[in-house]
């Protein structure tokens, strides 16, 4: 799947013969062996041909002037000499369109979670939709130079720079690099995009501990005041509780789940039960049992596995006394159903 994603990213460049020889060979080899990518590649080629057959329509000078005035007033000059689009310009437009289609497909594929394996079908182009007006936070992207502002501001931190000039015939070059950019996303805590972003931060950050710990603190402070926070937030915290090796982070995750229990899902409750059963840190077990006790007091029906876990914890002689007491308190609140 990872290969397919990478190869699909390469397809627009393959089409414009902008890949270096090694990548070009790899991409061709992959396409020959992967039925899904064959269909994708055929669709790209078909799109390319369709674009080639489209009639050229000259942009009226007034429309062009208004457009430029909208996007960059400073660039509007009254003494601009109009020029006719040559073959190179049309070729670039075709490449840009393919990149837009490819990027949209890549973005859409990454945005949908969980990822689903589709049954291979023959790809057909029925319509070309404009790209959604979203800013995509993606691992990698391919951009035509025309889409980048000529003003490079703020001394961006660019690393791992690579150059490519796959085909000297077409005047195209490529510059690849890693860039660390600072992005501020604003929105309401209930906005789906914000929820997804926070979920990503909680679950996927590589440089984990200080920032994940801070992220949990921030999530608690923010969502404690939101009536019904999105269940994705509690699910993300449940995943942290299940998977984080850092005990301090797990303690915070369990503690935060306790304060966000109005939107707990079955998976979240299972994570708390799992933590109560197996977490080696007694403080995590305390937070888990406190969260379950609070759930029981609120009248939520606990499933038999939870009740059984609480019962066993209450009677477990080698368990911390406070955990046992809290388990017993939770049991005293339960009304069997």
């Amino acid at each position: 799947m990872f290969d397919c994603d990478a190869m699909r990213e390469n397809m627009p460049l393959l089409l414009t013969e902008s890949l270096d020889p090694v990548q070009r060979e790899q991409t061709h080899q992959h396409i020959e062996t992967c039925p899904i990518c064959v269909a994708e590649w055929n669709a790209y080629k078909e799109t390319w041909l369709i674009l080639d057959t489209l009639p050229e329509v000259a942009v009226p000078p007034r429309v062009k002037q208004r457009f430029l005035a909208e996007v960059s007033p400073a660039m509007v000059k009254t003494n601009v000499v109009p020029f006719r689009r040559g073959r190179t310009a049309r070729w670039l437009a075709q490449a840009a369109a393919v990149v837009v289609v490819g990027s949209s497909a890549f973005y859409a594929g990454h945005r949908v979670a969980p990822r689903t394996q589709l049954i291979p079908t023959e790809a057909q182009v029925t319509a070309i939709q404009p790209a959604a007006p979203y800013y995509s936070i993606a691992e990698s992207r391919v951009l035509p130079a025309a889409s980048i502002s000529p003003q490079i501001e703020g001394r961006p931190d660019i690393q791992n720079v690579q150059f490519s000039d796959a085909s000297p015939l077409n005047q195209q070059i490529g510059v690849s690099f890693d860039i660390t950019s600072h992005v501020t996303v604003t929105g309401r805590p209930t906005d789906k995009s914000m929820v997804r972003l926070l979920r990503y931060v909680l679950e996927n950050e590589d440089r984990e501990s200080p920032s994940r710990s801070r992220a949990i603190d921030w999530v608690r402070a923010t969502y404690a005041h939101v009536g019904n926070p999105d269940p994705e937030i509690t699910e993300a915290l449940a995943n942290v509780l299940r998977n984080d090796q850092h005990q301090g982070v797990r303690i915070k995750a369990a503690d935060t789940l306790q304060s966000l229990q109005s939107t707990m899902t079955d998976g979240t409750r299972d994570a708390l039960v799992e933590a109560l059963k197996n977490d080696p840190n007694p403080a995590v077990r305390i937070k888990a049992v406190e969260a379950l006790a609070k759930l029981a007091r609120s009248g939520v029906a606990l499933d038999p596995d939870m009740v059984d876990t609480l019962r066993r914890k209450a009677s477990q002689n080698d368990e911390n006394v406070y955990v046992r007491v809290k388990a017993a308190e939770a049991l005293s609140s339960i009304q069997p159903r």
Partner: protein, 517 residues
Amino acid sequence: MLRISLAAVALLSAMQLFGASFATSTRVVREFPIDPAGSVWIDNPFGSVDVIGGEGNMVSVTVDRVITAPDATSMKEASDNIGLSFEGDPKVRLMRTLLPPGRNARWTVAVNYVVRIPRSVNVKIGSKLAEHIRVAHVNGSVTVNGFSGTLIMEGVNGASAVNMVNGRIIYDYAQQPVSKAQVQAVNADIDIYLPPASNFSWVANTLNGDILTTFNVRLPRFSGTIFHGAIGKGGPTINTETMMGRVLVLSKGSNASQAQSMRQNSANHQPVPSDVMLQPKQIIQLPYFIGDFTSVASIADVTVGEVRGNARIETGAGEVELGAVFGQCNVTSLGGPLNLGDIMGALFAHTGAGDIIVRAARMGGQVTTDGGLIRVIVAGGPMTLRSGGGDIIVRQFAAAMDAETTSGDITLTGDPHQRTLKVTARTLQGNIILNVSPRFGADIDATILTTDPEVNELTTDFNGLTVRREQVGNKTRIHATGKINGGGERVELYAEEGDIQISSQNITPIKLATPKQ
């Protein structure tokens, strides 16, 4: 006739309008042959069960099914979905109430069983919610597994094993016990009534309640929280264990007010600090306490706004919250969070598990948890902080600081008024962040041991450190040494699988209010 029907419809509508519900009852009666040494198993989640031993070789069952529903549709749904099952053969007879999984919460059902059996038959009962479960005059073995309700064991001479969560358990022996009894509960009280001349061995265990009896107990002793004693000449063991309830063993003819606690009146019991679990439960809520405050309890929730003297609290489990302590503060808990305010004397705080928050430790002290976060806002004197797993955060320390956690981040911020401070911080899995003022001077010895040297790094805002990297087995050691701002006290930092950050910040000092005596 039409008038009557209209009236009935109007009445029904009015009942529904006011939230009234309907109840219907049906009865099923069955009889089955059974072997004298056979078994009867009853599985009835909701409703009472009466099992009465007698003569003969037949099991006679009477089941009343009472359904309560707010309307006819729910009533029909309930009636169609609740079943009774009678299975087995003369060796084992199984009778069950069958309920649909994920049933509609709009209707409720109570299925009440009255089962008459030959006295020698063994009995096994499973229940969730019962008004009562009563087993009477049975010489066979009895097993009861229930969740909530009152269990009455009356004249049961066979061995018994009882496990309940909530409710109450009553054993009423018609004659002295001749078989073992194993009684376990979580929140239920256990009452046992026996003839005065009984001979048996008694084992009792409770965390929260008390162990009481009107019998003269021979050889009483505690092993941890478990009490052992002999009544009369001893004999079969009656084991009574309830976590949060109390155990009462009464000689018939006496009453509960005459009972003595085995915890407090144990002849051989000499109070020592480690036997906190033998002390009774306490719940203390005081706005202030003048003088030295002492509390020792097995389970205690202690909240005191202000202690104008020393404070000594020892608890097996519970939450401790002290607003201010004018003298020394010594808090030991086997489990539970500690929330301590402004401690003016030396502080010693330990919990077996749970977070510890200290607003101010003016004279410093020692704070330890076997698992949990430690957060100290102001440390005025030298402090030792230890966590078995969890973060350690100190917002401002003005004296030597020694912090160590098995797993977690350590964040320490030095008092900006101090030009140098001795610091030892050690985490076996996590990061260390040391924030100090730009003019802070120290001899730095910082070490990172990591399997991923590309990710874990040592960063500092100060010049003067020499960083060396060396391979130790499959790990890389990043070791930074040197003097910052001309040197000073030794600052020793050690992090495994984490970062170390020594940052120079203009820190705003935290000022503590002067207490009013």
